[in-house]
């Protein structure tokens, strides 16, 4: 081995960029290499060539020294394969190292390295930026399209990294879609050539459906896990099952014989006071149970917020606003990643069982989308194309709602109405399939033991009278008012959290809210139980056998026959339940405002439904009693005579729930479908529609946006709302950059700029793309090139292509002009040029421009005047313009 010329003095190691690259990429390799060699005891030191340097290391892998610029150094930061060659060369040089075992070992080792190399390809490619990567860039998770396993890939990708996007950027739908079409065309044309290619094309066409199947299975299983665990943990706050700690209260008492009066008690289930004190009666036992309830609640929420903070901050919140934004083309790396999935699933259970006023439905959509995104990595078609991936995510969102409510069709409609941005018919069918599979999977897990997908499935088929529409519409008005009130106050509170010191203490905030919730919730039995159970009880139509207080009517057991139960007078239990429910309503209304948006996974469907269901039940019981005591009134006389069963309070609860949910989210069609899928009856579509529509009108009259749009605006996500109209008389030239007094637009000419010129432009500006023109004087447009692609291509060409120096001319045309032989070779970059950029003339009304941006999902649009390039409009400009026109702060749009 060579010894270092000055090994007694450690040489300089330049700490610049290459060295950092060296550190990140090579050290694991070097160490393992040295370890292998040294373990054979054959060598004492060795060297590694890197970027014009020679590193000398001792047998243990310690860096002895490095030499600068020795002649045989590789010009390109040798990748691991090259190092592998060095390694193999060393083996041949060291003859006596060639024992069989060692070769086997090194082979395995190289394979292992290669595997890691593939896995890490992304990082490595990112690191060929000449500047430090932007913050958050390294957080690869959500959208890497540059996987390196290109065995199956027919298209020649000129360079890895070209055509990808940075974090917090918007994708270009048009470009992505055309890339997919190209790819598809390529596969189709090849499929005629050979059987293998045909097989490939078939599998490619089939992969979408396979992916849907996998998403459905995974989402359904996870929903089952969440349901079962959340149910168990919720009951853990009250006691524990001695027959098997994994049973919740209901399953604990599965076999045991319970009495008619005390149905909830069974010997196997012990409340905490019974377990600790030995008896469950008395004030002390009550206090002990109270204490245990609060302590468990605090512990669950503490764990939830700590896990979220420690492992996956993106797992907090409901996730639907972000998913809406992502589906519209935004990129948040890591938002749909593995860790987010794991942490969201785990902490969702904790958050729900802590008794906070939140639900699991919204987060389940996020969980399903994470599944979709992760499973996308299995298929090249979806891994590499952001637009295709978003189609899958739309379908995954449908699967999420499908398992959350047990409503597959409602899920598909929810995805269509509320979250999706680009929803072709193909996606509709796929969503339907994914929702179906997910619901089926959940059904076969049977998490609630009632053969239903949700806890609050109801089954009643009482007819309703037309006159009842009046109270239903009243409920709709209540829902709309509550929705508007909730959105206003929640946004105000969230803004406070965002801007003031409150946001600095997320853990403390969660603990305080949990403590308040738990302390207030325990004394009232309707808030003590989980919100889903509350809703289920409120939806329930009182039969003669129901034991809850809500059903404590004055019964005449002997006069009734079977199922047919007339309206009855309310007993004392009902009156107690009424004021308890009223208290519960007040508590839920206020505590939900502070809960939604905390840094734990928190959905909003269940609390809103609970508020509506309580209000509906209160109204329902009131109407029922009114009809019972005043059945001689003219309005009741026709249809609600004495002894008839005409008012179903459970139906009122359901209508109220739909109204409140509609007021908050502004859903209409999907909401009604979800609700009637919950009831399994078609009779109640009209009441539900009336309530949903009224609540939407009332809420829209007070505030335009639903809660998700309001959160999107609060966070300043670049979301171009497709529902709102743009109706201002501005033209493209008013919005485009550069403005009147700005310096002219930065452009690149097609065949006259050198590498150095372009690099200067790139480093002196921060634009994400540059128009390419024929020449500066004519300003005629050729195409558009993205900054990221440009940087990657130039950097790569400098490293790999011979003769590319600073003075080389960059040429975007097909045939580059002949150059004198002495000049350096030409860098051809036609492949990265987008030859079909969208253009409008400067006189185009903004209404049309906004429409183009919305419908085509553009990222930027060039503005021409008399055929000459004049300026550029980006999505950010459009969003800012819309905000400005709506008298909002245009700087609230944070991202581009």
């Amino acid at each position: 081995m060579l010894s270092c010329p000055s090994s007694s003095h450690p040489c300089h190691i330049h700490l610049g960029y290459p060295s950092a690259l060296f550190e990140v990429l090579y050290i694991p390799f070097l160490l393992s290499l040295s370890h292998l060699l040294a373990s054979n005891g054959k060598i004492s030191s060795w060297q590694v060539l890197d970027l014009g340097k020679r590193h000398h290391l001792d047998a243990g892998g310690d860096l002895l020294c490095s030499e600068q610029s020795f002649p045989g150094a590789t010009p390109y930061p040798g990748d691991l394969l090259k190092l592998g060659r060095v390694f193999l060369a060393q083996i041949t040089w060291e003859d006596h190292l060639s024992s069989f075992l060692f070769l086997l070992k090194s082979l395995v080792f190289l394979l292992y390295e290669f595997w890691f190399f593939i896995k890490r390809g992304k990082t490595k490619k990112c690191s060929i930026f000449p500047f430090p990567p932007p913050p958050g860039f390294s957080s690869y998770n959500g959208g890497g399209m540059n996987g390196t396993s290109t065995m199956m890939d027919f298209l020649e990708e000129p360079l890895p990294g070209v055509g990808t996007y940075e974090d917090f950027n918007t994708i270009d739908w048009v470009r992505e879609k055309s890339r997919d079409r190209d790819r598809h065309r390529e596969i189709t044309s090849r499929s005629k050539e050979s059987t293998w290619a045909l097989l490939h094309s078939v599998s490619d066409a089939f992969s979408g459906w396979l992916l849907m199947l996998l998403i459905g299975l995974l989402a359904g299983s996870l929903a089952g896990l969440i349901d079962i665990s959340a149910h168990w943990m919720t009951d853990l706050k009250e006691g524990v099952c001695l027959a098997g700690f994994w049973f919740n209260h209901e399953h604990c008492c599965w076999k045991s014989n319970t009495t008619f009066t005390d149905r909830d008690k069974c010997p196997e289930w012990k409340s905490w006071s019974q377990l600790i004190l030995g008896h469950g009666e008395g004030a002390f036992a009550y206090i002990l149970n109270y204490l245990m309830y609060v302590i468990w609640a605090l512990m669950f929420s503490l764990l939830a917020v700590l896990l979220v903070k420690g492992f996956a901050p993106y797992a907090c919140g409901s996730g639907i606003p972000e998913i809406k934004t992502i589906l519209s083309g935004f990129i948040i790396r890591g938002y749909l990643g593995k860790w987010t999935l794991v942490i969201k699933t785990i902490t969702l259970v904790l958050a729900v069982s802590s008794g906070l006023s939140l639900g699991k439905e919204g987060p389940l959509v996020h969980v399903a989308c994470c599944c979709g995104n992760i499973l996308c990595h299995l298929f090249t078609k979806y891994r590499k194309n952001e637009a295709k991936r978003r189609e899958v995510l739309s379908a995954a969102a449908a699967a999420g709602v499908s398992v959350a409510f047990g409503a597959p069709i409602g899920g598909v409609l929810f995805s269509l109405e509320e979250v999706s941005y680009y929803f072709p018919l193909k996606t509709l069918w796929r969503s339907f399939f994914a929702a179906l599979v997910a619901a089926f999977t959940l059904r076969s897990i049977n998490p609630f033991g009632n053969s239903r997908l949700v806890l609050f499935y109801v089954e009643f088929h009482m007819p309703w009278h037309l006159l009842e529409l009046v109270p239903f519409i009243l409920l709709g008005i209540f829902g709309g008012l509550w929705g508007a009130f909730f959105i206003r106050s929640n946004i105000a509170w969230c803004r406070r959290r965002k801007t003031t010191r409150l946001g600095k203490y997320p853990v403390l905030e969660v603990l305080v809210v949990t403590a308040i919730t738990a302390i207030l919730a325990f004394p009232n039995e309707y808030t003590r139980m989980s919100t889903s159970e509350l809703i289920s009880e409120l939806f329930n139509d009182c039969g003669i056998l129901d034991s809850s207080k809500l059903c404590e009517y004055v019964n005449d057991f002997n006069s009734t026959k079977g199922d047919d139960l007339p309206d009855r007078a309310a007993g004392p239990g009902v009156y107690t339940a009424m004021w308890q429910l009223a208290l519960a309503l007040i508590m839920k209304v206020f505590i939900t405002i502070f809960t939604f948006g905390m840094k734990v996974p928190s959905g909003l469907f269940i609390p809103s439904m609970a508020v509506g269901a309580i209000a509906g039940r209160l109204l329902g019981v009131a109407v029922e009693q009114l009809a019972f005591y005043h059945h001689d009134w003219p309005i009741f006389s026709g249809w609600c005579s004495q002894g008839a069963d005409c008012i179903t309070p459970g139906l009122y609860a359901m209508v109220g729930a739909a109204a409140c949910l509609g007021g908050v989210t502004r859903m209409t069609v999907s909401l009604v479908v979800i609700m009637f899928e919950l009831t399994g009856g078609l009779e109640y579509i009209v009441p539900l529609m009336a309530a949903a529509m009224t609540s939407k009108w009332v809420a829209d009259a007070i505030g335009r946006e639903g809660i998700y749009d309001a959160h999107i605006r609060l966070n300043g996500y670049p979301f171009l709302e497709a529902k709102e109209e743009f109706s201002h008389k501005t033209r493209a030239m008013d919005v485009m950059r550069p403005r009147k007094n700005d310096p002219p637009l930065t452009v690149i000419t097609q065949d006259s700029m050198s590498v150095e010129d372009v690099e200067t432009i790139v480093s002196s500006t921060t634009y994400s793309g540059y128009p390419v023109v024929v020449s500066r004087t004519s300003q005629r447009l050729v195409g558009f090139v993205l900054r990221r692609d440009l940087i990657i291509s130039i950097e790569n060409a400098r490293k790999k292509q011979d003769g590319i120096v600073s003075t080389s001319v960059i040429c975007f045309t097909d045939y580059c002009p002949p150059l004198p032989p002495s000049s350096p070779s030409v860098l051809k970059l036609r492949s990265i040029l987008d030859l079909s950029p969208f253009t409008v003339t400067d006189e185009t009304p903004m209404e049309i421009v906004v429409d183009i941006f919305r419908k085509l999902g553009l990222r930027q649009c060039l503005v021409t005047h008399n055929g000459k390039l004049l300026g550029i409009i980006t999505k950010k400009d459009v969003l800012k313009h819309i905000a400005q026109m709506a008298n909002q702060d245009p700087d609230s749009i944070l991202f581009n």
């Binding site: 003095h9 060295s19 160490l31 390294s138 700690f245 008619f260 965002k498 056998l545």
Partner: protein, 189 residues
């Protein structure tokens, strides 16, 4: 592709296990027919719970012994409500255990990251800083990051390094996310 497949394998196994358990043959403990009978004449209400098949789940098969004399049986049974229910206790048990073990692992890892690792790191770092300062005094040489990392981890095995590297990268990501969510309040507020 193979690598990705391998990575997803446990996930799919879990999925298959969960789905399989749901469809598994029902344990005899896991079916019940529950009849709730309201008070009738001078008989108080009663709940009957019996392990019978779905087709036998009615008042006549389940309510034993019949509390009322023959002529009243029909009237009594008319009011009873019988419900056949199924569950899978194995699924419940396995799910809860899987959930608790994942939660436990995460908590252990969190404890490790917050408590144990800083101590270990301090010890290791302190050691290498000692060496470094010695050499610094001798040569007045600026030292490279590479050297530090090399010196710190030379004795570790190869795989550990990979893991550590992946862990570092992941930690950076999480830190970045934490900054944007909790400090700058850019997203998710």
């Amino acid at each position: 592709m193979a690598a990705r497949g391998a990575r997803l394998c446990p996930l799919l196994l879990l999925l298959a296990a969960l789905a399989g358990l749901g469809a598994e043959a029902k344990n005899s403990e896991d079916v019940r027919c529950k009849c709730i009978c309201p008070p009738y004449k001078d008989h108080s209400g009663h709940i009957y719970n019996k392990n019978v098949s779905q087709k036998d789940c009615d008042c006549l098969h389940v309510v034993e012994p019949m509390p009322v004399p023959g002529p009243d049986v029909e009237a009594y049974c008319l009011r009873c409500e019988c419900k056949y229910e199924e569950r899978s206790s194995v699924t419940i048990k396995v799910t809860i255990i899987i959930y608790l073990s994942i939660l436990g692992l995460l908590l252990l890892y969190m404890v490790y990251l917050t408590l144990v690792e800083p101590i270990l790191k301090r010890r290791l770092l302190g050691h290498s800083q000692l060496i470094q300062s010695d050499e610094d005094i001798g040569d007045h040489q600026p030292f490279a990051n590479a050297h530090d990392v090399l010196a710190r981890s030379r004795s570790r095995a190869n795989v550990l390094n990979k893991v550590e590297y992946a862990q570092q990268r992941w930690k950076l990501q999480v830190q970045e996310q934490r900054k944007s969510v909790f400090d700058r309040h850019v997203v998710l507020s």
